[in-house]
């Protein structure tokens, strides 16, 4: 009975395109590299672990944005709303002595951010393009203003300093001056979140997000509940951004309005565009390039470093639409041959 079927399809599941799809999620040889570098950084630059921690948090934040923007094509300029929500959740709970334990604190941060993402997503994601951009921006502005006005709870403009964060597992103390524990802690959380996001984007769900990004109308015409998918994606993305914000508050032991502002939202967008969106590792490359460059440029041209960054962005926009990783693909494909779509 099964003979004919086998005879019809002998070459098909062994077809290169089928194999590429079947093996797409396999870990590639170079994929451990970023993590090895991150671990090496810990030993090589013990005096720069504060910078390193900040970098890792930024990567996680950019990764959360990549899920929404890069994969599902949700154009948002207000992603810091969720970063801030996570940061303030951790900050306010700790400051008011309600909850201080770090790991469960992250879950709470994720939960609050997810809730805001879900509620706002239900309404916002009915719109697209410029309207969506403005609405995400407004949502963030509302939260920022709430944090500014609710001085009694949020510390207002000054934020909440000196958060009492107890040692991790009751053993490892967070030392703001020598943030070794923070670095390792953030790296571990980043890794877990990355594995989760990676699984997600290679799943049928992730594939359907790319379908929505590429053609919403067609996606509806194949029977996909587009709005529901988008809300789900946005909620997950918000939760991860909330974790990033929670980590930021824990690592710095304070929280302030900078976690919620347009500055942070724009920066993470720049980072993702710089590194290349919709490609997982764009968040890593973008964050490293951006933070290294702004660090370097700020030293060389203390007054005009943002100008240099702006110029670089223009170059990227003009010549490398898909960011640094896209540029890399173009270069390698010249030598190795055509690369299939991801």
């Amino acid at each position: 009975m099964t003979m004919p079927a086998q005879q019809v399809t002998p070459g098909l599941s062994g077809h290169p395109a089928a194999l590429a799809l079947i093996n797409r999620h396999r870990v590639r040889a170079w994929e451990p590299l970023p993590w090895i570098i991150a671990i090496a950084f810990y030993f090589a630059f013990p005096n720069h672990l504060g910078f390193g921690t900040d970098l890792l948090v930024t990567i996680l934040f950019a990764l959360s944005l990549d899920l929404a923007l890069g994969y599902a094509g949700i154009v948002t300029l207000g992603h810091a709303a969720f970063f801030g929500a996570g940061a303030y959740t951790v900050g306010m709970l700790a400051h008011h002595g309600i909850w201080t334990e770090p790991i469960s604190g992250l879950f709470l941060a994720a939960g609050v951010a997810a809730l805001i993402g879900f509620a706002s997503g239900l309404i916002l994601l009915r719109t697209t393009g410029l309207t969506l951009l403005m609405l995400t921006l407004c949502t963030m502005a509302l939260l920022e203003e709430a944090a500014n006005m609710g001085e009694k709870y949020t510390g207002g403009f000054d934020g909440l300093p000196n958060l009492p964060i107890p040692p991790l597992f009751g053993l490892f103390e967070f030392n703001p001056l020598y943030p070794r524990v923070q670095y390792v802690y953030v790296l571990c959380v980043l890794f877990v979140c990355f594995v989760f996001v990676r699984t997600l984007v290679y799943s049928p769900f992730g594939q359907s997000l790319t379908g929505i990004r590429e053609n919403v109308l067609r996606m509806r015409a194949v029977g996909a509940p587009v709005n529901w998918r988008l809300v789900t994606c946005y909620t997950i993305s918000a939760a991860i951004a909330g974790i990033a914000g929670g980590l930021w508050a824990q690592a710095n032991a304070y929280v302030n309005l900078s976690t919620l502002g347009l500055d942070r939202a724009a920066t993470v967008l720049i980072i993702l565009v710089l590194g290349g969106y919709g490609r997982l590792y764009g968040a890593f490359i973008g964050a490293v390039v951006y933070m290294a460059l702004s660090h370097f440029l700020a030293k060389v041209y203390p007054t005009a470093w943002q100008l240099g960054l702006g110029l670089l962005l223009m170059l990227i926009a003009l010549f490398a639409r898909n960011g640094v990783l896209g540029l890399w693909d173009q270069l390698t494909s010249r030598f190795i041959g055509k690369r299939g779509p991801t």
Binding site: V8, T9, L12, S13, H15, P16, A17, A18, A20, L21, I22, N23, R24, H25, T199, L200, Y202, S203, P204, F205, G206, Q207, S208, T210, G211, R213, E214, N215, L217, R218, M219, R220, A221, V222, G223, A224, P225, V226, R229, G340, P341
Partner: protein, 251 residues
């Protein structure tokens, strides 16, 4: 005699002052091979958009298997068995041909919500998508990005996506438009090879194709049904010849 799959009752749609569909009463039976013809701007695509829920009608009803689906969402209609192709390609241009079809098959099987399993591990979906591509002579292009394909080949992907939904009602909006004539038989063969029980409605300007394919023809003019009948009746109808065939036949 046979079951009516899809039916419209006094279906009308206006865009402002323009009546794009007027009082259309239409039936598509199980197993039907039905063609919808009419001059440019007659409202053929609009009719399909009303059937699939892209637009809501100004008046009238759409029934699928006896059930009123007039205001139902697009995706819900697809779940009930209506699939379509678009007159102008609507594809996932940045994705590979295989991924395009994968997405359709995955939605049909309800896999689109699956988050924790790699897409490639759903071998059933990959295999089915590959088989479809093979049937449409597309397997050599399976790994290529859709945007890299010539337009005519992209038309075949359009069809592959619709077939991946295994519909009961298949609505084809000029499937062969833009396909080189040497390849248009692939589309016809694929349509001919469809399961007998499904109802197919095809829009096309190619009269040879229409008369070969269809058992029934509806002529739409100015948004309204102008004539309906067998190919023989329509071919012999002098009024139809006057308004439509006379102009379009020679080409």
């Amino acid at each position: 005699m046979s079951d009516v799959l899809l039916e419209t009752r006094s279906l009308s749609k206006s865009f402002g002052a323009l009546a794009a569909s007027r009082d259309i009463n239409f039936k598509l039976e199980a197993g039907a091979r039905h063609a919808l013809i009419g001059p440019n701007g007659a409202g053929k695509t609009t009719f399909i958009n009303l059937l699939t829920g892209v637009f809501l009608p100004t008046q009238g009803q759409v029934l699928l298997k006896g059930r009123d689906i007039t205001t139902m969402e697009q995706s819900a209609r697809v779940k009930l068995g209506i699939a379509r192709t678009f007159q102008i390609n609507r594809l996932f241009r940045g994705l590979s041909v295989l991924e395009n079809v994968y997405i359709a098959v995955a939605e049909r099987l309800g896999a689109g919500n699956q988050m924790m399993k790699p897409a490639g591990m759903r071998k059933d979906i990959v295999d089915e998508a590959m088989r479809l591509l093979d049937m449409l002579k597309l397997s050599n292009d399976a790994g290529h990005r859709v945007s890299e394909l010539p337009y005519g080949r992209q038309r075949l992907v359009e069809l592959a996506i619709a077939l991946g939904l295994k519909p009961d009602v298949l609505l084809l909006d000029e499937p062969a438009a833009g396909v080189p004539s040497a390849e248009s038989h692939i589309i016809l063969d694929a349509v001919a090879a469809l399961p007998k029980h499904i109802g197919v409605l095809i829009i096309d300007h190619d009269m040879d194709l229409v008369f070969r394919f269809a058992q029934r023809i509806t002529v739409l003019v100015g948004g309204a049904v102008f004539a309906e009948g067998t190919p023989k009746e329509i071919g012999a109808d002098q009024r139809v010849r006057d308004v439509y065939l006379g102009q379009a036949h020679h080409g």
